[in-house]
């Protein structure tokens, strides 16, 4: 049976882009070999995290629905590994 992929949603809202979020669009190609095929990366319209200060600072992404603030490619890779380990 196929292992369920980790779902990463990258916010493409204006604020996230302005605060460096465009880099996150490169996540798929920056994944280390052991994570390739295990992660499904998708872009998303504004995820609306930016309107609630408790969520932290942009850019935002989600990993299996969990909000990641101040996301960077390296942070997302680290968080994906945590998610896999459970």
């Amino acid at each position: 049976m196929d292992e369920k992929k980790i779902e990463v949603l990258v916010c493409s809202g204006t604020l996230c882009y302005l605060m460096g979020g465009s880099e996150l669009q490169l996540l798929s190609e920056c994944l280390p070999p052991d994570l390739r095929g295990k992660v499904d990366v998708k872009g998303s319209p504004c995820l609306d995290f930016c309107n609630h200060p408790k969520n932290g600072r942009p850019p935002f992404a989600t990993i299996n629905g969990r909000c990641i603030a101040q996301a960077s490619v390296s942070l997302l890779i680290a968080e994906i590994r945590k998610e896999i380990k459970g």
């Binding site: 493409s12 809202g13 204006t14 604020l15 882009y17 302005l18 605060m19 460096g20 465009s22 880099e23 669009q25 490169l26 872009g43 319209p45 504004c46």
Partner: protein, 475 residues
């Protein structure tokens, strides 16, 4: 970069609410509250740096300050009454600077004090002595040749650059006796590489935001002229990006890619004429940092630079003809274009890509969620392609007659090595058409861009594919 963008967003928010004078003094306090710790030595230093960065966003040189007690609200009031701009585009925030040591080689504690002592033996100026068993460089005699770094078997010697000086391709930024950097405007080509390189954000671009909003408040109509590289800045198609300007309050929007089509037509004709009359080569002229480079530093290359004007020039001509009494705002990827806009007879103000993005955030506009506006008149695919390196070449080749044999060369980013190469061209140029872009990747790599250039290039390609070929439209 992120602090600058937050500052721009806060300033624009106050401008939208028409409370700049009342609100601007609070920004340093809001961004650095007393109990939230500081980035620099203390919260007061952080606030002072923010104050001076805001001064640049109000359109002032930091060196314009005559009294340190002048509050930002006074500068805001004076900016609102200001009628004249200058062509000094970049300003150094001295409060944020002076943290870098002069460029030097330093011995780290990795030095083992070895017996062979290759650093000392190879130093051509005898600047290295051994003190307490470790190498020590005498900086009064060291000439920064780097020999010691190359020969140390323990990699114990490091090179400590001054990032802004290292990035400046023309030696226009340097330290004064007080350790603070200053820009020599007689040498500066306004490329903005110092602004990108400084990790303290100490170089700022002066803004025209106050003027743009004042004109809007006075009921003037605003005309946006968007540089081709804008197509890559957000995860949105060109129709949405054009529509976003209407949402921001602009009355008309022009794609400067239409001006690029005129540039292409005239540049292709000029290239043909020059080559047929025996000229060895011609270089492009659409990058104003490059043309300033030639004017100020490579005089011998001047006769080979195309006389065709930039896409912005032609777009502004058309826009001014259509809107004689309106305010023309060029939406720009870099400070060099701001400098060019100042000298253009038809452009009134410049809005950087960063300022455009910050304005949308302040206005609560998500560009990707907007409807896509219908584009009445498409520019050509080649015109849109001017936003990336190789675009001008591709466009000129498309319109030049097939009998004209074009051997193209691309200078994709200006640094010291590229300048040496350009200086050699009048004596020997390996091609007959030289495209020069000061920023690597072209305008999508400009220092005001929002999007990663790799991501921007993908987005730009989609905008190019959506437009017709230049050979199929009437220019």
């Amino acid at each position: 970069m992120l602090i600058r963008r937050e500052l721009i967003t806060r300033v624009v928010r106050l401008l939208i609410e028409n409370r700049l004078e009342e609100g601007i003094n609070r920004i340093p306090l809001e961004m650095r509250p007393r109990k939230n710790g500081s980035v620099r030595c203390c919260v007061h230093k952080d606030r002072a740096v923010i104050k001076y960065k805001l001064m640049a966003l109000l359109g002032y040189n930091i060196s314009d300050e005559v009294d340190e007690l002048t509050p930002l609200s006074d500068y805001a009031r004076m900016a609102n009454q200001r009628t004249e701009l200058t062509d000094t585009v970049l300003t150094v925030v001295d409060e944020a600077c002076s943290s870098c040591r002069k460029t030097s080689y330093q011995v780290t504690n990795m030095c083992r004090g070895c017996v062979a002592r290759p650093c000392m033996v190879n130093c051509p100026k005898d600047a290295i002595k051994f003190v307490d068993g470790q190498a020590s460089i005498d900086h009064t005699t060291c000439v920064n040749c780097g020999q010691c770094l190359k020969v140390c078997p323990f990699h114990a010697i490091v090179y400590m650059p001054v990032p802004c000086e290292e990035a400046c391709p023309v030696g226009a930024i340097s330290k004064g006796d007080d350790g603070v950097e200053s820009i020599d405007i007689t040498k500066c080509i306004n490329c903005g590489k110092c602004m990108t390189a400084c990790p303290f954000g100490a170089v700022m671009e002066k803004s025209h935001l106050v003027e743009i909003f004042r004109n809007k408040r006075e009921g003037k109509k605003l005309v946006a002229m968007v540089a081709p590289a804008i197509a890559g800045q957000f995860n949105a198609d060109m129709g949405k990006i054009l529509h976003s300007f209407k949402e921001l309050g602009f009355d008309y929007v022009y794609e400067v890619a239409e001006g690029a089509d005129i540039t292409t037509k005239l540049e292709a004709a000029e290239l043909q004429e020059r080559l047929e009359s025996g000229a060895p080569f011609m270089t492009t002229s659409c990058c104003p940092a490059y043309t300033q480079l030639v004017d100020k530093h490579i005089e011998q290359l001047k006769p080979y630079v195309s006389h065709t004007h930039t896409p912005m020039y032609y777009s502004a001509q058309v826009a001014r003809h259509n809107h004689p009494n309106d305010v023309l705002v060029f939406v720009s990827p870099c400070p060099a274009k701001r400098w060019e806009s100042f000298h253009d007879p038809n452009v009134d103000y410049t809005l950087s890509f960063e300022e455009y993005g910050a304005w949308m955030v302040a206005a609560g506009i998500d560009v990707s969620a907007l409807r896509s506006t219908d584009i009445d008149k498409f520019p050509s695919a080649e015109g849109r392609g001017f936003g990336a390196s190789g675009g001008v070449t591709q466009a000129v080749k498309a319109l030049a007659p097939s009998t004209l044999k074009i051997t193209d060369i691309q200078i994709n980013g200006i640094d010291k090595a590229a300048i040496r190469q350009l200086k050699s061209f009048p004596k020997s140029c390996p091609g007959n058409f030289v495209e020069v872009m000061t920023c690597e990747g072209g305008c999508i790599g400009g220092c005001n861009v929002i999007s990663n250039p790799k991501v921007a290039l993908r987005q730009l390609k989609q905008a190019v594919e959506a437009a017709p070929s230049i050979v199929s439209i009437e220019v």
